[in-house]
């Protein structure tokens, strides 16, 4: 027996997907609307923290282990570094630049250009920015969720042991 009452669990089950979708929207539209990887990742991580509070950390720990979240966070970090190093690997005028936005204003993915003072939301723009937003978002989701989950689980275990 863990977690809170049936009312809280039901409301959490209803609210969770909407909070999740809003956070993912903030991450994926980071280059068009206010927000980005950090902010959207915090929203999604707070939805996951809501699950931890309502259903209990032991139930959540059965569903997902902290090792898996740690791997997810490392994938986000490596992705961010790789997109940063693309600017050094792909040369412009015989010189590479760290954090150069290599896909902006090109023919590749997210490569369409934007007029000055344009307010039209075209998601296929901004080069590496959406990719970096996704990598950082993944990193923040996994990082904040694993901090909440591991702390709650450890305090639960200590209370059970009685010391």
């Amino acid at each position: 027996m863990s977690g809170m009452s049936k009312i809280v669990k039901t409301i959490t089950s209803i609210a969770f997907p909407f909070v999740m979708i809003y956070g993912l929207y903030v991450i994926l539209h980071g280059h068009l609307t206010p927000g980005g990887g950090f902010q959207g990742g915090a929203v999604v991580a707070s939805a996951c923290a809501m699950i931890v509070v309502a259903f209990g950390s032991i139930w959540t720990m059965k569903k997902i282990k902290e090792n898996q979240l740690s791997i997810l966070e490392s994938i986000g970090a490596i992705g961010f570094i790789v997109f940063a190093f693309l600017g050094l690997i792909i040369l412009f005028d015989n010189s590479g630049i760290f954090f150069k936005n290599v896909f902006a204003n090109s023919v590749y993915l997210f490569g369409q250009s934007v007029e000055y003072a344009s307010t039209t939301a075209n998601i296929n723009t901004a080069g590496t920015l959406p990719l970096m937003n996704i990598a950082v978002g993944l990193k923040v989701i996994a990082g904040l969720f694993v901090i909440v989950l591991v702390m709650a689980y450890a305090s639960n275990k200590i209370k059970e042991r009685g010391d």
């Binding site: 280059h31 980005g36 050094l88 630049i97 007029e115 003072a117 990082g143 901090i147 200590i158």
Partner: protein, 98 residues
């Protein structure tokens, strides 16, 4: 010196060289421009970003273009801080939870 230490020193040297070359290509700090310029008596940098962010990065959100493109190093540091925090929390609380 062991093999592991040597690899660490070599990696550190490579990263340091990257950082030094990046610093050399930065704009000068607090550049106010000269008389007759468009942005005289204002810092050039913010007006430059307002005027050129959409053309250069293709992002409608200028804040994201600054955070992830013009000042990507800052975001790299933030990501490193988060990674260190997660590593420390798991290191401490995994032993307590056993």
């Amino acid at each position: 010196m062991t093999m592991r230490n040597a690899a660490g020193v070599i990696f550190f040297a490579i990263v340091a060289v990257f950082f030094i070359f990046s610093i050399l290509s930065l704009h000068p700090f607090g550049d106010f421009g000269e008389e007759g310029d468009k942005y005289y008596l204002e810092p050039k940098m913010d007006d430059y970003i307002i005027d050129n962010a959409q053309n250069e990065t293709g992002a409608n959100n200028a804040v994201t273009s600054v955070v992830f493109d013009y000042r990507g190093f800052d975001t790299l540091g933030e990501a490193t801080v988060l990674f260190t925090a997660v590593a420390g929390v798991i290191l401490i609380f995994r032993r307590l939870g056993k």
